[in-house]
C-alpha cells in the first residue's frame, strides 16, 4: 500500500506545483460551458424577412400587419418591404436578408372566395436553424390569421395540455453534465496520457521499474494518482459550473455527496481507459495527436450536447460502449432532476465494471521491463 501511496503522493505534489496545468485542465471546460451554453442555448432573433406584396388587397395588408406585430413582440424577425420580387430574391441570394415572404397577385380574392389562398416563404436553407425557426414562426402566425370568428367557450375538439414536471432547463444547464465529464476527461488525458508518456520517455519510469513494486501496484498507483487529479477537476466543475449555469441550490450537501460519488466513478473509468490506451505507447506525440480524436469520438456520441435518440444506428454503437454516455446520463439525473443514487445505479454499475475491465486489461498489457 505504501508503494501505491508513494506514486499518488509524487503525482499530487507535482500537480500542486504546476498551477498552469491546473488552470488549463479546469478553466478550459468552464470556458467551453459558457461559450457553448450561450451560443446554442438562445432563441434565434432579428432575422431579416423581405416582404413582397403583389396583391395589395385588404387580406394582404392584414397579413403584413400581423407579421409586423410578431416582429415587434417576439423579435424573431424584422420585415423589410420590397416593391420588386426580383430585387428581393437577389438580396436573399446575396445574404442581405434571410427570407422573402411573397404575397402573390389574386391572394386577397382567393382568401375571400375561400379558394386555397397561398403565400410563399422563400428561405435561405443553408442555415437550417434560421430557416426552421422562420418556418415555425410563420406557420404559427397563420393560425390566428385563418381564425374567422372568436373561438367557442367550450371546444368540441380534443386538445393536448402539456405539463412540464421540472422547471425550464436552459441549454447551459443541459450542457453542464457533459462539461463536468469533459473536465474529468481533460484531466485524465493530461495525467493518464500526456504526463504518463512524457515521464516514460524521460526515463522516470525506470526509477519505478528497478524497485520491487509489482505490475498491479504500479497500474493501481498510476490510476489512483490520475483519478485524484481528475476528481479535483470534476469537483471544481461541479461547483463553479453549477453556479455559472444557475443550478438551483448548488451547495446542498446531500446533492454534493451524490455528485462526488459519480465524479469518483467517472474519474476512475476515464483514467483507466486512458491507461489502457497508453500502456504500450512510448512516443510523446501519440497522446497529443489522439487527444482531439478521442475527445470527439467520446464526447459527442454521449448525449452531452444533443439527445442520443437522434443518432444513426452506427453512432449508437459507440454510445452504448462509451463511458461518457453513462457519466453524462448520471450527471443529468443528479443535476437537472436532483434524483437519488438509485436512479443512476445502472450508470454507476457500468462505470465500475468498465474501470475493473480496463485496469485488468492494462495490467495484462503492461510491460515490467523496458
Amino acid at each position: 500500500m505504501n508503494r501505491i501511496l508513494a506514486i499518488i503522493e509524487r503525482d499530487l505534489r507535482r500537480f500542486r506545483r504546476s498551477p498552469t496545468l491546473i488552470v488549463v485542465s479546469m478553466i478550459l471546460p468552464l470556458v467551453q460551458l459558457v461559450v457553448l451554453g450561450y451560443a446554442f442555448g438562445g432563441k434565434v432573433k432579428h432575422l431579416l424577412v423581405g416582404v413582397v406584396d403583389q396583391d395589395h388587397g385588404l387580406p394582404a395588408v392584414r397579413l403584413q400587419a400581423l407579421a409586423r406585430a410578431v416582429a415587434a413582440n417576439a423579435l424573431t424577425f424584422t420585415t423589410i418591404p420590397y416593391g420588386d420580387q426580383t430585387r428581393a430574391l437577389r438580396d436573399l441570394r446575396d445574404g442581405k436578408i434571410n427570407a422573402v415572404l411573397n404575397i402573390p397577385p389574386q391572394f386577397s380574392r382567393k382568401v375571400l372566395a375561400g379558394a386555397n389562398p397561398r403565400i410563399a416563404l422563400v428561405e435561405d436553407n443553408t442555415d437550417q436553424f434560421s430557416a426552421s425557426t422562420l418556418e415555425a414562426t410563420f406557420n404559427q402566425m397563420l393560425g390566428p390569421y385563418n381564425q374567422k370568428a372568436p373561438p367557442p367557450r367550450l371546444s368540441a375538439n380534443a386538445t393536448l395540455a402539456v405539463v412540464e414536471i421540472y422547471p425550464y432547463v436552459p441549454y447551459i444547464q443541459y450542457l453542464l453534465s457533459g462539461t463536468i465529464v469533459l473536465a474529468v476527461f481533460v484531466s485524465a488525458m493530461i495525467g493518464g496520457g500526456i504526463i504518463y508518456i512524457d515521464d516514460k520517455a524521460r526515463g522516470l519510469h525506470e526509477g519505478y521499474l528497478v524497485t520491487p513494486i509489482t505490475k498491479f501496484e504500479l497500474i493501481l498507483g498510476f490510476n489512483l494518482a490520475g483519478a485524484a487529479r481528475a476528481i479535483i477537476a470534476g469537483l471544481v466543475l461541479v461547483t463553479f459550473g453549477s453556479l455559472i449555469a444557475g443550478i438551483p441550490d448548488p451547495f446542498n450537501p446531500a446533492r454534493l455527496a451524490r455528485l462526488l460519488v459519480l465524479v469518483v466513478a467517472t474519474a476512475l473509468a476515464l483514467i483507466s481507459m486512458m491507461f489502457l490506451f497508453m500502456v504500450r505507447v512510448s512516443d510523446p506525440l501519440v497522446p497529443r495527436a489522439t487527444f482531439g480524436v478521442l475527445n470527439t469520438l467520446l464526447f459527442f456520441p454521449s448525449g452531452a450536447v444533443y439527445p442520443i435518440n437522434a443518432f444513426p444506428a452506427w453512432m449508437k454503437v459507440i454510445t452504448v460502449m462509451d463511458p461518457f454516455t453513462y457519466a453524462v446520463h448520471g450527471f443529468k439525473e443528479l443535476i437537472l432532476k436532483n434524483t437519488g443514487l438509485l436512479a443512476i445505479s445502472s450508470d454507476l454499475a457500468f462505470l465500475a465494471a468498465f474501470t475493473v475491465g480496463a485496469m485488468a486489461a492494462a495490467t495484462l498489457l503492461f510491460r515490467r521491463t523496458l
Partner: protein
C-alpha cells in the same frame, strides 16, 4: 560467491547484437568499470543486470539471485543510478528521496534517518528542502546517487554517472562514490567513457566494444600489457647528421618520429631511455632544450585492443529523440 556473475549474456534487437556473449565476475567491495564508446552495449548490459531488460540468452546473478527468476530479490538488493537524471524537478531533494524510500517499503523513522544521513553524505544537507530544479548538474547527480542508496543496497549500478558534468563536479561525484563505497561496504559497477576516471577509481576495468568484451584487468595491468609504455617528446639545441638513427639505437626504444625539431620516442622503459638519451646528447655535444615523458593511458590501451579511438555511433531512435521532447535542464 561473487556479488555479480555474468555468464554468456547476449542481447539482440532484431538483427543488431547489442551485447555479445559477455562473461565476467565482480567480487564483493570491488569498483568495476565498464569502459567503451557510445553504442558499445554498456547501458544495455546494465539494464539487463538491473532487471530492466531481459537478456536474449545467457544469465546473470546478483548476490546469487538470478536476474530473471529472482528479479524482485535482485531489485531489493541493488541501487541503480540511470544515465538520465530522473529526479522530479518540482519536488525537493527530501521529497524525491522520500518517494523512493516509500517505494522500497522503508518505515517512517528509518526513512527520515536515512534521508538525512544520505543527503549529508552527498553534501546536499543544506539544500534538502529546495526544489531540484534549482540544483546544478553536479548537485542533481549527487542527489541521484543518494536516492539510489536510500534502501541500503549492497550493489550499486551507475550508468555514466558523470556524463555532462563539468570537471569539478566529475571529481566531486567520484570522490563521493569512493567515500560511500568505503562507508557502506558497497560493490560498484559503473559504466563510463572517461578513461581517466576508470583509471583512477576502478579496481578492474572491462573494455567493451561492439557488445564484446575485448580486455579485462586492473588499469595498471592493462597498461602494462601493451607495448611502448612511455612516450618521450624531446628537442635539442642542434640536430647532428644521422641523429634519428642514433636515437633508434638507444635501449628500449620502439619507434622514433621526427617532426620539425621535435622527436617523439616510443619506449618500453621511459626512465632508462631518458638517461641514455641525455648521455647520447652530451657525447654529441648538443643540449637537450626540452623533454617530457608521458605514461601509457587507458586511451592507448583502448586504441591497442579495439584498433580505434572512442567514437560516436548511430543508435536506435527512442522517445528521447522525439522532436517534441524538451531537454531537462
Amino acid at each position: 560467491m561473487y556479488d555479480i556473475e555474468v555468464e554468456n549474456v547476449t542481447k539482440r534487437f532484431g538483427d543488431f547484437c547489442a551485447v555479445d556473449r559477455l562473461s565476467f565476475t565482480v567480487e564483493h567491495g570491488e569498483v568495476f568499470g565498464l569502459l567503451g564508446p557510445n553504442g558499445a552495449g554498456k547501458s544495455t548490459l546494465i539494464r539487463m543486470l538491473t532487471t530492466l531488460l531481459p537478456p536474449t540468452s545467457g544469465t546473470a546473478r546478483i548476490l546469487g539471485w538470478d536476474i530473471l527468476r529472482s528479479a524482485n530479490q535482485v531489485r531489493s538488493a541493488i541501487g541503480v543510478i540511470p544515465q538520465a537524471m530522473t529526479s522530479d524537478l518540482d519536488l525537493s531533494a527530501e521529497e524525491n528521496m522520500g518517494i523512493f524510500a516509500k517505494l522500497y517499503g522503508i518505515r517512517r523513522e528509518e526513512r527520515r534517518r536515512a534521508i538525512k544521513e544520505l543527503l549529508g553524505a552527498v553534501d546536499l544537507g543544506q539544500w534538502a528542502d529546495k526544489p531540484v530544479k534549482l540544483f546544478s548538474g553536479g548537485m542533481r547527480r549527487r542527489l541521484e546517487v543518494a536516492r539510489g542508496l536510500v534502501h541500503h543496497p549492497r550493489v550499486l549500478f551507475l550508468d555514466e554517472p558523470t556524463t555532462g558534468l563539468d570537471p569539478v563536479s566529475r571529481v566531486a561525484v567520484w570522490e563521493m562514490l569512493s567515500r560511500l563505497r568505503r562507508q557502506r561496504d558497497l560493490t560498484i559497477l559503473a559504466t563510463t567513457h572517461y578513461m581517466d576516471e576508470a583509471d583512477k577509481l576502478c579496481d578492474r576495468v572491462a573494455i567493451v566494444d561492439h557488445g564484446k568484451l575485448v580486455a579485462l584487468d586492473s588499469p595498471l595491468k592493462l597498461k602494462a600489457s601493451i607495448p611502448g609504455r612511455n612516450i618521450l617528446e624531446v628537442s635539442f639545441s642542434a640536430v647532428p647528421q644521422g641523429w634519428t638513427e642514433t636515437l633508434k639505437a638507444l635501449p628500449e626504444v620502439a619507434e622514433v618520429k621526427a617532426e620539425d625539431h621535435i622527436f617523439r620516442i616510443s619506449s618500453h622503459n621511459g626512465p632508462r631511455t631518458t638517461i641514455e638519451l641525455i648521455a647520447a646528447a652530451r657525447t654529441a655535444a648538443i643540449a637537450v632544450t626540452s623533454l617530457s615523458v608521458q605514461s601509457t593511458t587507458l586511451d592507448d590501451v583502448f586504441l591497442h585492443y579495439t584498433g580505434h579511438q572512442l567514437r560516436d555511433s548511430l543508435q536506435t531512435p527512442t522517445a528521447y529523440t522525439s522532436a517534441f521532447m524538451y531537454e531537462r535542464k
